[in-house]
Amino acid sequence: MGRRVGMEVSIAAAEAVALIDVDVVAAYPITPQTHIVEHLSELVANGHLDAEFVPVESEHSAMSVCVGAAAAGARTFTSTSAQGYALMVEICYIASSMRLPIVMVMANRAMSAPISIWNDHADMMLARDTGWIQTVAENGQEVVDLLIHAYRVAEDHRVLLPVIVNLDGFILSHVIEPIELPSKEEVQKYLPPYKPALRLDPKNPVTMGPVGVPEIYTEAKKAQDEALKNSKKVIIEAWEEFAKHFGRTYRPVETYKCEDAEVILLLMGSIAETAMRAVDAMRARGKKVGLARIRLFRPFPVEELVSTLKNARTVAVIDRALGFNGHVGPVCAEVKSMLFDHGLTPYVWNYIAGLGGRDVTVENFIEMVDMVEAKAAKKEPMGYEIINVRE
């Protein structure tokens, strides 16, 4: 039987990794993910988790150790944030191209400079094009559940791709929440042992990571692209199975009061809980506002978002990172191209909010909805705006 605990979310993430019975943990400290590897080191030290804890000298080596360990047939975990992710990103491309089911928690943090240890999604955006599956948690329970789900998806032979479980640094990683931790037996029933498709084994030699000449590189990349596209059905199937085992239902996009909504707030991560209160407040005033939250960021949940947004007149996409392209934030760019592809033409305005740990309040969301309606009414050219800036 599982147990209900009040627990810091980072500690719960580490506990989930132990329930998953990983074999190798590569660990390098960086705020705000540090509590996760700290607690894992304790679990290994006290014999609660039988794993090799490899305290590497950098995030670059953390991911390199993960690649070696996963290639040798071990279930592998690491965790990082921001600059640490930037240091490991070179190897992250290789991990996904080599189809190694590594799972990583990214405690999302702003990218330097100026140096900031606080939360936004710039690091998650750096991971956008690396070929990893990415999920985004709203609360501590989701962190635990998405981690268990991540291994089931990653290790499925129809997928064999690495997964990042994103959680908002500090805002989520350092809060104490009520969390239901399943038992090890329950996790084992849901998550079979890792059976690698290929492994480094002297009895059956394979060459991994060879030179890709121009005659084969494109084909290799197409195969990888198809693996990521096809992973979506396995991801959804694994969530459906998860519901049967643990009673909690997950889907690629979570909606709140969207059915009749004229204005939809579209966002990712823990600010959804604040946005929900704003939606309630606006509904109380008779405004038809809804909220859509992207839980599956990679592969991008196109069908789910199209069906959510198809009747909305106005959409406010809230990015937690800049795109530095001069015209749109990274998530909004994808939303707009998706709408164009499907012939949908709502008014879309892009807000950049909560950079480097700046608080995003209920009032901010109400203001965003008021502003986007005014802009839509005046048919202003669509664009973006950083909110909550002290001028």
Binding site: A71, A72, T76, V211
Partner: protein
């Protein structure tokens, strides 16, 4: 007795009569004519045998052995990136350790975990990952195949390029003599990690090389072998004299052969009558521009390094302190 000495106490070396016929690295690869680096790798693999997992850094040896769909590897091999072979093989070793403990892989003969890289992948960009792997004490063998420049990308200088050498990024000119810094001493850096086994080797002395690699594979914990890997393409000399060049490097004390076992430095060849360094330099066009003055400077440096090595190996008697009574009188 230290852990390496303990592991090596019954060591039986290879002789001309019992060189293994096994070729874990097969012929048919795409290395240049006269490449001594591929020879070094081949000899190392012969010494280890087939119960091995190999992690390769990006470099000549990765490129020439693995263009898909061909492979020259008859043993499991993985290439990830330029700077992380030591970290990747650490991961493989960690996985084997835990999977064996958990009973998920059958008990088998001791698998050797081998990482290798060129001098760029070892002395420069890969030094951090190597240091981390050595410091953490993984049971791995790391081999540096030192051809003294970035040969894979077309002969650019590395921190292992010797003073005065011409490369495409250390060209000699009116204001430069070529490489302006002295060769980085990576074996000494490895030894400073207090690992059980460090050695230098050269394919010009194949039995010595194979025996050192075998020892490296036998000792528990990290072992480092630095192999002099002559590159006719980059060093600008005929392919048929590559082994002679390698021999001359040892004969002139430019590349001395030694071991560090449990921290104890041991000379492999004492070389009482070293040849002048100029004999080595004049064999290669990469040094063709050097003046007599520069050659003297290099000779002085080689002498000083040799003296320091002799001292480390306990081969040099301490001079009697001034004013001391002459002994035996």
């Amino acid at each position: 007795m230290g852990i390496a000495s303990e592991a090596l106490k019954d060591f039986k070396g290879f002789t001309m009569k019992n060189i293994p016929s096994v070729e874990p690295l097969s012929p048919g690869h795409r290395a240049c004519q006269g490449c001594v680096e591929i020879l070094a790798l081949r000899l190392a693999l012969k010494a280890i045998g087939t119960n091995v997992i190999v992690a390769s850094a990006t470099g000549c040896m990765e490129i020439v052995t693995s263009p898909y769909p061909q492979t020259a590897w008859r043993v499991p091999w993985i290439h990830v990136a330029f700077e992380n072979a030591a970290a990747v093989i650490s991961g493989v070793e960690s996985a084997y350790k835990v999977l064996a403990r958990k009973g998920r892989i059958s008990p088998e003969d001791k698998v050797v975990f081998l990482g290798y890289g060129g001098d760029g992948g070892t002395a420069d960009i890969g030094l951090q990952a190597l240091s981390g792997a050595l410091e953490r004490g993984h049971d791995i063998v790391y081999i540096c195949l030192d051809n003294e420049a970035y040969m894979n990308t077309g002969i650019q200088r590395s921190s292992s390029t010797p003073y005065g050498a011409m490369t495409t990024t250390s060209p000699p000119g009116k204001k430069s003599i070529g490489q302006t810094t002295w060769k980085k001493n990576v074996p000494a850096i490895a030894a400073a990690h207090d690992i059980p086994y460090v050695a230098t080797a050269s394919p010009a002395y194949p039995l010595d090389l194979m025996n050192k690699v075998k020892k490296a594979a036998m000792v528990p914990g990290p072992a480092y072998v630095h192999i002099f890997s002559v590159c006719p393409t980059g060093w600008r000399h005929p392919t048929n004299i590559a082994i002679e060049v390698a021999k001359m490097a040892v004969a002139t004390n430019v590349f001395p052969l030694y071991e560090v076992i449990d921290g104890k430095w041991i000379l492999s060849r004492k070389n009482p009558k070293p040849k002048p360094v100029v004999d080595y330099l004049k064999m290669q066009r990469r040094f063709a521009h050097l003046t007599e003055e520069e050659i003297e400077k290099i000779q002085a440096r080689v002498n000083a390094e040799w003296e320091a090595l002799l001292e480390r190996c306990g081969e040099k008697k301490e001079p009697a302190p001034e004013g001391a009574e002459p002994s035996g009188e």
